[in-house]
Each structure stands twice: as C-alpha cells, then as structure tokens.
C-alpha cells in the first residue's frame, strides 16, 4: 500500500515539487468542474509534457490510486469531478497549451491538450482555417476536453462534432504507456481505436498530443434572427427548414427566459417580447448564399415568424453569437444555480417534448430556460434555482429525472454533447440494455484493466468490474 506521502514524493520527483499540490484550499478548487457535482481530490498536479503525464500516470498505477484528467474544467456533467473511496489524483493539462505544428496545406495541426478551442481557431485564422467544433464554452474549453467529451457546438450541425475533426491522438494509457491512436493517413489500418477514444470521457487514458483537422473558413456567411410568438411555431419552423432541403451551418433556439438574460448582457437587440427566437446561420459561396437565405427566410415566415432579420455586419453577427454562447453563464441574473440537461430528441418530436418539459418544470414550480441546438434536436432545458432554498434540490432532481424519461420515451438519447460523466451515469440503463453496457465495459476494461482512470464515470453501477463504482461519496449531488 502506497501512502499519500509516497505518492506525492514520486509525483514531485517525476514533475517538479512546485507543480504537485496538496494544499487543502487548492484541492477544494479542483473538487468540481462547471457542473454542480462536487467530489474530492487528494493531489493536484500540472504536467508540462507527455513524459510528465506518463510518469504521473505510472506513479498512480504503481500506487493503485485512481486519477482524473482535467482541462479547463468547463464540463457540465461532472466528467472532471474527482470521485472515489480513495480521492483521486487530478492531472491538469492546462500548462500543456502549445500549438506544436500547423500544416496549412494539409489542413492539420498538432496541438497539446490544454490549447483553448478558440485560441486554436484564432491562431490559424490567417491561413483561412479554423477548428470547426465550437462549443458555447469555446473561449475557455480545451481541445483535450473537446476530445474527451466528443464536444458539439452550434456549427456542428453542418460540420460534424469533434470526432469528425480528430485525426490522431497521442495517449498516455492508464498504465503509463504512450501510444498513438489513429493517424494522418486518409484511412488508417486496423480498428478505429481513435474513434473509441474520442468521447471516452477520460476513462481510457489521457490525450497528450492531438492531430486536429482544420476546416476552411466559409467564404460568405449570413446569420438570420427570427422571432416567434410561440415555442411550438419556432419548433415547427426548425423541422420545416431541414425538410426544405437546407442544412444550415447552425440552427439554434432560445426561449423568452434566455433571451431576456442574454440581452441584459450583450445588448445585441434580441427581441425580448418574443416567445422564441431562432438563430440560423447559412454559409457557402456568395452566389448560392442569397438563394439559400431567401429559402430559409420564406420558410420561417410561412411558419409564423413575426420578423426575420439578417445580421447587417460582422459585428452584429458576433454580438448575436456572443449572446447565444453566453446563455448558461448569464442565468445567474435569475438565480445562482442551474441544472442543465442535454437530451437529444428526433427533430419531428421537438414540439411535443418541449411542451412536456415545460409542463414538468411548471409542476415542480421551477424556472425553466431553453437554449439549444434545435437543428439536431439537442435540447438544453436549463432549470434555474437557488440551492439555498430548502427543498429545491429535490424538486430539481425530480424534474430532471422526468425530463430525461420524456426525452428517451420520445426516441431520444441522454446526451448530445456534454457527456454522461457522473451526472447521467445512472440513467444509462434507460437507453442501453445489459448487453450494451457489458460491451462498453469490456472495451473500457481493455484500456484500463485496473479501473483507475476516471473511475465511477459514464458506466452505471455494476457496469464495470471496479468495486469502487458501488457508491458515490458523501457530498456528491446528482
């Protein structure tokens, strides 16, 4: 049995004394990510290279100590929350934030995992390129975190989620070995282990170098803002746009609650008297763009849009997107806590599911905001509350469970992009049978036979061989 002291000494020898921390207050800051789930870390360390990550992981493996990788900590499902009977070591990748190589001709860049998503896009903008996955947290979230969660974003409707933009990943496996999964070839031989790793939520190792596909910036862009008298009208318009044969770059919905708080932040001229607002972006060559814009405008108008505005310039477009992408962070204007769901439902069921979600929250007397990727049916019901009010957590809890059940009953899934993490782990049996869960557990065990790598995440109790999945530690709130 390795004591904490031995493990800390080994980590300090492997990294540097200064980059291995055990101060209780600092550990407390790494007890959670942007979700509400709070765990406990035993050590926090900051490696600066693949070798240091490998050495830290190897030290944990020797000590039989679980570890959790963490990037910017903007995850919303508790994926980076350290939990376990033995508090895990948190391995933070934020100091590994260099763009290692950009090959503009091949449209590939190798980056370290701590590079921020938006920093990467800005750094390659002068080549006319960008990194297409654009989560709302893109100014702060790291590429490593995007890989772990297979992150989406408004523009993934057209460009695909993170998995489509990752060519290869250098991974420190849970025993400390370093391997490269995938490759730059058009079709690497063998099983697609890269595909298995992307979206594994830190349960199969730690990415230390990532080859990302860079996407040309669209030649021209038009952004439309449409406001609707009812949510149902807006939802029907979403289905109609896609049915008309248009795949917009992005198709986002915000309800009145959300529009009010984001307008208070960005002052972008959002219609605060609308029941729902659609933000539609189309891009492409200038000749086609006008035609597509007209098609979208007329479809929106036919489905009850009171007004459709096209962004006058880049500044207005940026302001609209800033509003959309700030929505979660802005809800503290209503109340200090939020609980965000991430279910996906078939687009054709949007109207009825939105009504159900609204009814569920009304029954529990909870404030609801909706801001979501309507184009791919990825709902983000956002329950806003003050956790200091007695009894409110139980109601939030009950509403959350009912929302997930309603979405699954409509043929949906648990998470569009935020991941399962800790938050939706125990809902997995709603969508997967025992055989599915077993198969996933086998794959995970193949990567992490000792069960040390971000334990207690993704797969429900009994879904893996690890005994420590049995109970959540005290203080964890799901």
């Amino acid at each position: 049995m390795t004591t904490d002291g031995d493990l800390v000494a080994q980590l300090r020898a492997a990294l540097s004394p200064e980059r291995v921390r055990t101060d209780p207050m600092e550990l407390g800051l790494y007890a959670r990510d942007a979700s509400m789930l709070v765990g406990r870390a035993s050590v926090v360390c900051f490696p600066e290279s693949t070798e240091e990550v490998a050495a830290a992981v190897a030290a944990c493996a020797r000590a039989g100590r679980p570890f959790v990788a963490r990037g910017s900590g903007t995850g919303l499902a508790g994926g980076a929350t350290p939990v376990g009977d033995e508090p895990p070591v948190v391995i933070v990748t934020t100091k590994m934030n260099r763009i290692l190589d950009v090959d503009a001709d091949s449209r590939v860049a190798w980056v370290q995992p701590g590079v921020l998503n938006l920093d990467l896009s800005r750094a390659v903008a002068h080549f006319g390129l960008h990194f297409a996955p654009d989560p709302s947290s893109q100014q702060s979230c790291s590429v490593g975190g995007n890989v772990a969660n297979n992150s989406g974003g408004p523009h993934c409707l057209l460009y695909g989620v993170t998995n489509a933009h990752i060519l290869a990943v250098e991974v420190v496996l849970p025993d400390g070995q370093v391997v490269v999964l995938g490759g730059l070839d058009p079709e690497p031989d063998g099983l697609d282990l890269r595909g298995a790793f992307v979206g594994s939520e830190g349960t199969m190792g730690i990415a230390t170098r990532i080859a990302v596909r860079l996407t040309p910036l669209p030649p021209t862009v038009a952004t439309l803002l449409a406001d609707f008298p009812t949510m149902a009208d807006a939802a029907r318009a979403v289905t109609a746009v896609i049915a008309a044969g248009v795949v917009p770059a992005a198709l986002e919905m915000m309800d009145a609650t959300i529009v009010e708080v984001v307008e208070a932040f960005v002052h972008a001229g959002f219609p605060t008297d609308a029941a729902a607002v659609l933000l539609v972006e189309v891009d492409g060559l200038s000749g086609g763009l006008a035609v597509v814009t007209d098609v979208v405008t007329s479809v929106l108008a036919r489905h009850g849009a009171r007004a459709v505005r096209v962004a006058a310039d880049a500044a207005e477009r940026a302001a609209w997107w800033k509003g959309r992408k700030s929505a979660f962070g802005a809800v503290a204007r209503i109340a200090p806590n939020y609980y965000l769901h991430d279910c996906v439902v078939p687009r054709t069921h949007l109207v009825e599911v939105l009504e159900q979600v609204s009814r569920i929250c009304a029954e529990q007397d909870l404030t609801l905001g909706n801001v979501f990727h309507a184009g791919d049916g990825n709902l983000h019901p956002l329950i806003v509350f003050d956790a200091r009010v007695p009894g409110v957590l139980e109601r939030v809890h009950a509403a959350g469970a009912a929302i997930v059940e309603a979405c699954v009953a409509a043929g949906g899934s648990l998470s569009g992009e935020h991941g399962i993490g800790l938050e939706k782990r125990d809902a997995m049996p709603l969508v997967f049978g025992p055989a599915d869960l077993r198969a996933q557990a086998h794959l995970r065990d193949a990567f992490d036979p000792a069960g040390l790598c971000n334990p207690a995440k993704v797969l429900p109790r009994g879904g893996t061989r690890c005994a420590d999945v049995a109970d959540l530690p005290e203080g964890v709130w799901i």
Partner: protein, 391 residues
C-alpha cells in the same frame, strides 16, 4: 443585502457566480499559469470556502494576493458578477495580515506630494549616479525619474484636472500636454490643491478600505463645485468613478457622476480638437487599453475617437488583455507580472506600430521598462498639433 460572516462582501454577489469558467481565458494570471488558484472562478470558490468555514490562512492570502484586479473577468462574465467588489472586500478582511508595514508606508508616501517630490529627486540623482541596487531596480522597474518638474499652471475654471501622485511627480509633461490640448479646444483648466494628491486607488485595491475612504473624501473636498473632473490616468479615473460604491453615500455617487476620463470627455467634443500640423507625420498607433479604462470605465472607444485624426490606428489582437502593471501588482508579484507582460509585448511587436498609446501611467511605465515606445494619447495629440510642452 446580506454581508458575509467572515468576509465583508455581499453574499448575493458571491452567489452570482455559476462557475461556468467563461472568465478563465480573459484572466491574465490564469493565462499565465493555467491554475484555478490564479483564476476568477477559483478565487470566488476560495471566498466561498472561507465563508463556509475554511481557514483564511496563507493559501487564501496567496489566492487573493496574486490577483491583478484588472477586472477583465467582469466584462467577460455573462452574469456580470461584480468581481472587483468581492476581491476588495475579501482583501479588506485580511488586510491586517496581507499588507505589511512597508507597503502601507509606500502607499502613505503617495498621499504626500512634497515627500514624493523629495524622494523622486533623490531617486533621480541615485539613478544617474548608479546607486540603485540591481535587485530593487528589477523589482520596481522604475522609469528614469525626472530631476526637475515641468511647470503646470491653471488656465481657467471650466473643468478640473486631477493631478494625482506619481503622475504629477514623474509624468507632469503629460498633464501639461493635456492642459495645452484643452486650451486649444477653448477649455480652461483648474488645478486642485494637495488634497487631491492621492485618489486612494492602490489603498482600495489592497483592501485598506478605511484609508481609501478618507482619501476619497479629501479628493472630493479638493474638487468642489459643478465643474467636470477630468482624469488623464485611467486607474485614478476608475477609482474616482467608484467613490459612490466606496463611500456608499449619495454625495460620493454625485461626485462620481462628475468624473470623466480625459479621452471620454474630449471624444464628446472631438470637433473642437486642434488640427494636426501640416508637417506632422502620421504614425501607426497601437492603442493599449488599460484594464480600468476598458473593464471599469468602459471608455476604451473614446481613446480611438480622440487619436484617429492624428494617426493610423492599429488594433492589438488580444482583446485588451492586461499588461501586468496593475498598480502595485508589478512590484508585489514581479514574476507573474513579467510573464503577463511578455505576452503583451509579443502582441505589441506583432502589431508593427510606430508607437503605443497608453492612457494610464502605470501601464505606460511598465511597458516602457520592457523597451516599448509608449506615449500618452494627450502627448500624441499635443505633439501632432504642435502644442507639446518642452521636455
């Protein structure tokens, strides 16, 4: 409003952070380190931990002390968490332990113009005689101090000009240029007495709330009447604009409403600006946004309005990120401040400008110490219009 049990902050303001992390990339110390203890989100989490009973020990002091208080997180925060208030109130609670005697002494010096002038003269001689020890020189990174101060005289009573402490001692030519530009616009400037020598900004940032409030009342008394109070130091301007919050009085709020950054006030009258001389060479000017101009006064656009007739403006690509000066920050956290500055100078170099315009003396000196060619916007205007005071 409910005050905290341990920290004298507003608990509702403390609760307003949802920990989304959208502030992280805008925080200069998080940028430099990638650590939660150096981030707005982490600092707020630490304040909450202390409110919940954790010890406000050395690590808490370190978490508070390594914040520049640039307040970029406030601009970035979708919920507009008033981080500056939370930080200043938290520092107030620990000031007894966090601010050592020598720091208090330094802040006190700023309140006494004659003492500051004498020290400046002594320092100027010492610098020229190479008597300043290398360690001190590196820690303070002072500019070359003036041996003699330029003359500065009132020209009327339309507006007040805050003269301040270090700026009046070390950068009086900027004041002189400001007065000259205003005179060319037909605006007479009144100068305050020694009561307005120190705005209390540094005291306030350090958590020395009582002293800051005393200085605020003294400044208000030295700048009476209805005339607008113009400030050519962005940090001081921000401090004066917050007297309403600092003092919590209607009188303070009314005074704050009279305060304008010099560029802000001139931009509203830009048609009166003097024309550039025919011989003036149009420079490529990169505008450096002092944090307290951009995030507290939200007046950065006015600097551009004022400078546009005199040169070609070049935008820096870092969304106005902090340069690391931060009032006393560069002296108190020199290593962190240098890391932040090196990123800033890289962005400045990439912009390829002839000169950097900085409307804050602290930023200007800190950047100049790294070899950047820096001028106050008023110096640029005065030089272009042929009004510059003799140096």
């Amino acid at each position: 409003m409910t005050r905290g049990r341990v920290l004298p902050l507003d608990l509702d303001e403390l609760a307003a952070c949802v920990s989304c992390g959208l502030c992280l990339a805008h925080c200069p110390t998080y940028r430099a380190t990638g650590e939660e203890t150096r981030s707005p989100r982490g600092r707020i989490a630490a304040m909450r931990a202390v409110e919940a009973g954790a010890e406000a020990g050395p690590s808490f002091l370190d978490i508070l002390g390594t914040c520049v208080v640039c307040r970029a997180c406030e601009t970035a925060c979708p919920s507009s968490v008033p981080f500056g208030h939370l930080m200043e109130a938290s520092r107030q609670a620990v000031a007894d332990r966090a601010v050592p005697w020598w720091q208090r002494l330094a802040y006190r010096t700023l309140e006494h113009p004659r003492l500051l002038a004498a020290l400046t003269a002594a320092g100027a001689v010492a610098q020229r005689a190479h008597l300043v020890p290398g360690s001190l020189r590196r820690r303070l990174s002072l500019p070359e101090l003036p041996l003699r101060r330029a003359r500065l005289a009132a020209t009327g009573g339309d507006v007040w000009l805050l003269t301040g402490c270090v700026m009046d001692a070390w950068q009086r030519p900027v004041h002189a240029d400001t007065v000259a530009v205003l005179a060319a616009m037909g605006v007479g400037v009144a100068l305050p007495g020694p009561g307005a020598a120190c705005c209390g900004a540094l005291h306030s940032h350090a958590g020395l709330h009582g002293r800051a409030a005393t200085l605020a009342r003294r400044v208000m008394a030295a700048l009476p009447g209805p005339a607008p109070v113009l400030v050519d130091s962005a940090g001081c301007g921000a401090a004066l604009k917050e007297y309403g919050h600092l003092l919590g009085t209607a009188e303070g709020a009314a005074f704050s409403a009279r305060v304008f950054d010099i560029q802000e006030w001139i931009a509203a009258r830009a048609d009166l600006l003097p024309a550039p001389m025919p011989s003036h060479r149009r420079l490529r000017i990169a505008v450096q946004d002092p944090c307290h101009l951009r995030h507290v006064q939200k007046a950065e656009s006015h600097v551009r309005t004022v400078l546009r007739p005199y040169g070609e403006l070049v935008e820096l690509t870092d969304e106005g990120r902090c340069c690391g000066a931060g009032g006393a920050f560069s002296a108190l956290q020199p290593e962190l401040a240098r890391t932040i500055r090196s990123e800033k100078t890289a962005v400045i170099d990439a912009a390829g400008a002839d000169v950097v315009a900085s409307p804050n003396p602290g930023c200007a000196m800190w950047l100049a110490a790294a070899g950047v060619e820096v001028r106050h916007p008023m110096e640029i205007v005065a030089a272009a219009a042929g009004l510059a005071a003799p140096r």
